[in-house]
Amino acid sequence: MAIIVNKETCRGCQICVNKFECPFDAIEFNSAEKKAFINEKCTACNACLKVCPFNAFEKTGSDEEVDLSAYKDVWVFAEQRDGKLMNVAKELIGEGHRLSREISEDTSVCKVCAVLVGDGIDGLAKECFEYGADAVYLLEDPLLKNFTTDGYTKVITDAVHEYKPEIVIYGATHIGRDLAPRVAARLNTGLTADCTRLDVKVSSYIDYAKKNTTLDTSDLDPESDDKGLKQTRPAFGGNLMATIICPKTRPQMSTVRPGVMSKRERDPQATGDIIKVDVKLAESDIRTKIVEIVKAAKEMVSLTDADIICSGGRGLGGPEGFELIQKFADKVGGVVGSSRACVDNGWIDHSHQVGQTGTTVKPKIYFACGISGAIQHLAGMQNSEIIVAINKDPDAPIFGVADYGIVGDLYKVIPEIIEEWENAEALFDARQAGK
């Protein structure tokens, strides 16, 4: 814990030095800067906090006693763009629902709440309920129509101060990753980026770890009453996973990559409480001006929504290889993906990139064609339902995660798959009949 003089708000009036007796003689005046400052004698006794007429004396530091029990509920930042709820918002409402029920089955103890920020977006509340939200916080103002860092940070921070959620999760989108760090810094709380797994109960963390990781869980007590949020994320380009906790401050905050969590089945009957938050925002609070928002003219690659992804790697040998991959994708009703190497080589646009620094995907089938399987790439696609690897090199790491592998020349294999694709059912039936 510490006391500081905020240099932005200190007016140099010296009231704190002249009219107030610091018990430890810790307040001094820097006449060059014309600002008061706190020297090393300060013991953070808080005696001076009310002295400054401009509130320049501030308490900082993580040791600030936070009454953790005052915080409850799981909040999901329900990101909308153009009045349309983002897919990741639906996924996170599903995940928030799971977490809130892990904390307590009793919704009077813990609820999952969607936080809708925008203008004229109250119609989206129903959709949030249908995907599992118990309640919706509605933050509406004409100034919130489009995302701005300043506007959204202010209203969300204010709402957190007022309603005190225990957990806040955001989609790790270009908006969520701009907003969440700013909110965390203003609230002086922790934030864990790009989580791929969240747990509250130690027992469910153990289950997850046993199934998916090399972690030795023998020192973890499944009966523990620890209900802190365990936030698991990749680090070092996916080479290492770390589980992060935020034990001393609230709320606990995470961003979660789109496509990682599962939506709940939509319940058209669902309803819930809508809490209209009194938004205090002035035009002068927003220091950036959006001139225009442009949707990409080029065809957007929706890797996260695709059921089938046909991905090409260095093994294509050149940009023309993507013509075959495109033909393959057209045939199977899929979307073209790529490894980082191809993007770095300029063979294909970055929007196609799958992996740690690209898009995380979870399709029903992932065809990895000429992709060796660098760990960054695996981090972005290994949760696919079925992975098919086609590669010349039988030792390529991609075969380590693949469900089906074909060792061979992709330029020979893929045309055969394309040719036989329509016959799959007949081939399967024939096989069944032959058994």
Partner: protein, 266 residues
Amino acid sequence: MRIIVCAKQVPDTSEVKIDPVKHTIIREGVPSILNPDDANALEEALKIKDQYPDTVISVVTMGPPQAKDMLIECLAMGADEGVLLSDRAVGGSDTWATSNALSAAIKKMGHYDLIFAGRQAIDGDTAQVGPQIAEKLNLPQVTYVTEFAIDDNMKDITVKRSLEDGYEEIKIQTPCMLTAIKELNAPRYMSVSGIVHACSSEADIKVWNAKDVEVDLDTVGLDASPTNVYRSFTPAPKGKGIIIEADGVKEQAKELLINLKSKHVI
């Protein structure tokens, strides 16, 4: 105009390997590099300097003493000054604590008009420190910048910010924080004269400790960090799949499709 560039020395994660027995990262022999997005941030500052030669570029970083090598590289590319904040007291900082330390260092560096940072570092991939420094310095921010233009008044900036489904054009004024992504530019190479200068005794590289930047020690380092590592581990390798072997490519393709059909995925 004074531009501060925030940079980080990172291990080249594409070279990182995992010890298959101990499940730990093998750091030995892994080269340290200037974080790629930060190189884009520096390049954009250098482009401003190309156009307005009285621009002064200062690079600030936090890290161990050897991070000085990265500052030498930045000077060799054309930066005027490097500041390394290096102190055990700031070791183990999470993003919140790191932004406290770096914003203290930036305050100490004096007047600035613009802060440029990379969107994220490849070792942590958090993209949090840039916005959090901006918050501590009470600056407006734009992240994911792909295009940058500044008016001759050195005040009005227009940027493009990348979105998943397009981009936004945003106007912002100095002082402000911008974070760069790869699409912004192509970083230049070090020049020979730059290397000679950066390695000479003339090179302006300062090494500061926590006391020098007057940061509150209760807001930096491992203990002050709100987030802590609970456990760390390597992902489990997925069980070996089936290698489809058949008589010829056509038969392999057929076999694959039969398998996919049996799993009800097609």
